[in-house]
């Protein structure tokens, strides 16, 4: 890893390029380490101080202890990301299949371009769109129906929000935000399905869908899972859109349509940080460390799935 192990004697260009690429690699590790060190050191007081001093914001539970402060936030983070993934994954896979297997070249590239553009929209714009457009529309047209007809499910029970600033709205917006990365990677792995296998299926008399089921989906399965993990990682860390949309409370709740929603770690930091001082800042940074760890776990899982890919 260290650049000084073996000094290669070669043409100048080779040596320069080698130095450049090694230092680029090292820079990434240094940046990662710097962030981790910062998080750990600044978070430390939140773990070591007397637990009754921990808490952020005057009214919602000063002195509750770090664990009971971070748990609802961690839950909200994972919950929002999971719901978003549940919505985004089938759509993304469907889009990727349409683009790679069904659409004509022109439609495929236009649609692919459009999906990629979704990734270019700043998250604060998504947040504003979520508040001003999506939330009222869903609150008027969809949530009452869900509450009335599916209210027996814990997810849709409770008093349905009239503002639409619910976990569901946040999850839908998150889903749209992670759609591009999942569909882009799925598209990539679907395109790489060997023509040999597709032709084998077609020559056996498979219809298009049967061919997809026999070859494209099994071949792309691990890639789709890895893509979803990356999307999940993105949804976990998403800040602005959630901060704008969600009407938060200090609860752990599965209900998706109410005004009492668990906040996410990233959104909570964004909302609380301007007002915080002293130990409150340390506590917020400690929640950031928890998020860092959670994202790290998700990415490690994605890596393992993608690395375990055995396709010939």
């Amino acid at each position: 890893m260290t650049p000084s192990t073996t000094a290669p004697r070669g043409p100048l260009g080779d040596r320069v390029f080698r130095r450049l690429s090694v230092s680029a690699g090292v820079t990434v590790l240094v940046a990662l380490a710097a962030v981790a060190v910062f998080l750990v050191f600044r978070a430390l007081p939140a773990f070591t101080s007397a637990q009754n001093e921990i808490g952020v914001g005057g009214d919602n539970g000063e002195g509750e202890g770090f664990l009971s402060y971070v748990l609802p936030l961690l839950f909200g983070t994972v919950w929002a990301a999971l719901i978003a993934l549940l919505i985004a994954m089938p759509v993304a896979v469907g889009v990727a299949l349409f683009i790679t297997q069904y659409a004509s070249k022109r439609i495929a590239s236009a649609l692919g371009y459009g999906i990629d553009l979704l990734a270019a929209i700043p998250s604060v714009v998504y947040g504003l769109w979520g508040i001003f457009v999506l939330a009222p529309v869903l609150a008027r047209n969809v949530y009452p129906w869900l509450g009335d007809n599916l209210g027996f499910l814990p997810f849709f029970s409770g008093t349905t929000s009239t503002s639409g600033r619910t976990m569901m709205t946040a999850a839908v917006v998150l889903a749209i935000m992670i759609l591009p990365i999942i569909s882009a990677i799925s598209r990539e792995v679907f395109t790489q399905t060997p023509a040999l296998h597709k032709e084998a299926a077609l020559a056996l008399g498979a219809t298009r869908w049967e061919m997809i089921r026999m070859t494209v989906l099994p071949y792309g399965r691990s890639g789709v899972i890895a893509a979803s993990m990356l999307g999940l990682g993105r949804a976990l860390g998403e800040t602005m859109a959630v901060a704008l949309i969600l009407s938060p409370a200090d609860v752990i709740s599965l209900k998706l349509l109410t005004n009492q929603n668990p906040n996410t770690i990233a959104a909570n930091i964004a909302l609380q940080f301007p007002e915080s001082t002293g130990l409150e800042v340390n506590t917020l940074i400690a929640t950031g460390l928890v998020l860092f760890a959670a994202t790290f776990v998700v990415n490690a899982m994605a890596r393992r799935v993608a690395g375990g890919e055995v396709n010939d």
Partner: protein, 282 residues
């Protein structure tokens, strides 16, 4: 273009086949078949009668369109975007390019074995054999499925080598075994015709021999068309041989002549054929 000589041996073949095939004769006839990739005419005006229950070899230099022609016989050609054909291909007297004919149905009747062995990597040996059967959306009983697996693998001379590891992935077999697995997969659905696109070009000589002797066994039940670059192979296994040629890059390929294999390799009617089979070009 094509010289139809009624030789004694062929007459015999036909009578035997007719006796064995009460329903339909499983022969293929191509009439004025032009094959295109987009606007590019790849093969022009093929007229060819492929005799049932025999082996027909297609030979010729690279790029002459023999594989393209083969793929047009089970409508696999059109899988490539903008690829199309003009003309007719009759199977049992019916035009497979006729209006309203579903290519999927045609491909179930006309099986195909490819140049490189291509078992489905995520499926076991047994699942590979059954892949075509499952497509018909029929529910197979366990014992019926086992029977088909055994019968097809025996038919492909593979049973003894794999009977103890049917649930293991097909990709774990050797190249020659994989190719025979693909043949087993193709014959499991009991097609009428078997198309083979250079089935031995990725195999070692011993596996090649195994596949060739298998072909000779299979021809009593199936009409076999094989594309091969190996002229010894064509001479060894086929009953009739068609020689394809091309006048130059960018020109369409065409059939120079088709005749009994013996005649093509000993005394062809066309000079080009003679030059090719004696190794003077190609």
């Amino acid at each position: 273009m094509m010289s139809e000589t009624a030789q004694g041996t062929e007459e015999n073949v036909m009578t035997i086949d007719d006796a064995k095939a009460p329903t339909g004769d499983h022969g293929i006839t191509a009439r004025d078949l032009d094959i295109y990739y987009g606007d590019f005419l790849a093969v022009r005006k093929v007229n060819m009668a492929i005799e049932p229950r025999s082996i027909t070899a297609l030979i010729g230099p690279s790029g002459c369109g023999k594989s393209t022609f083969l793929r047009s016989l089970n409508r696999m050609h059109e899988v490539i975007p903008r690829a199309r054909v003009d003309g007719t291909v009759l199977l049992d007297g019916e035009d497979i390019y006729g209006p309203g004919v579903d290519p999927v149905v045609i491909r179930r009747k006309i099986g195909m074995v490819f140049q490189r062995p291509n078992p489905f990597p995520t499926m076991s040996i047994a699942e590979n054999v059954l892949a075509g059967m499952r497509l018909n959306a029929k529910r197979l009983s366990r014992s019926a499925a086992d029977d088909i697996v055994e019968k097809s693998l025996r038919g492909a001379n593979l049973w003894d080598e794999v009977k103890n590891r049917l649930d293991q992935p097909g990709s774990g077999l050797s190249g020659g075994q994989q190719q025979r697995l693909c043949i087993a997969r193709a014959i499991a659905v009991e097609p009428e015709v078997l198309l083979m696109d250079e089935p031995c070009s990725a195999l070692d000589p011993i596996s090649t021999m195994a596949v060739e002797s298998l072909m000779l066994e299979l021809k009593s039940d199936y009409t076999i068309v094989i594309v091969t670059h190996n002229m010894q192979q064509a001479a060894r296994v086929s009953d009739r041989t068609a020689f394809f040629n091309i006048d130059g890059t960018g020109q369409p390929g065409y059939v120079v002549e088709m005749d009994a294999t013996e005649k093509i390799f000993s005394n062809p009617s066309q000079q080009a054929t003679s030059d090719y089979v004696t190794g003077r070009f190609g």
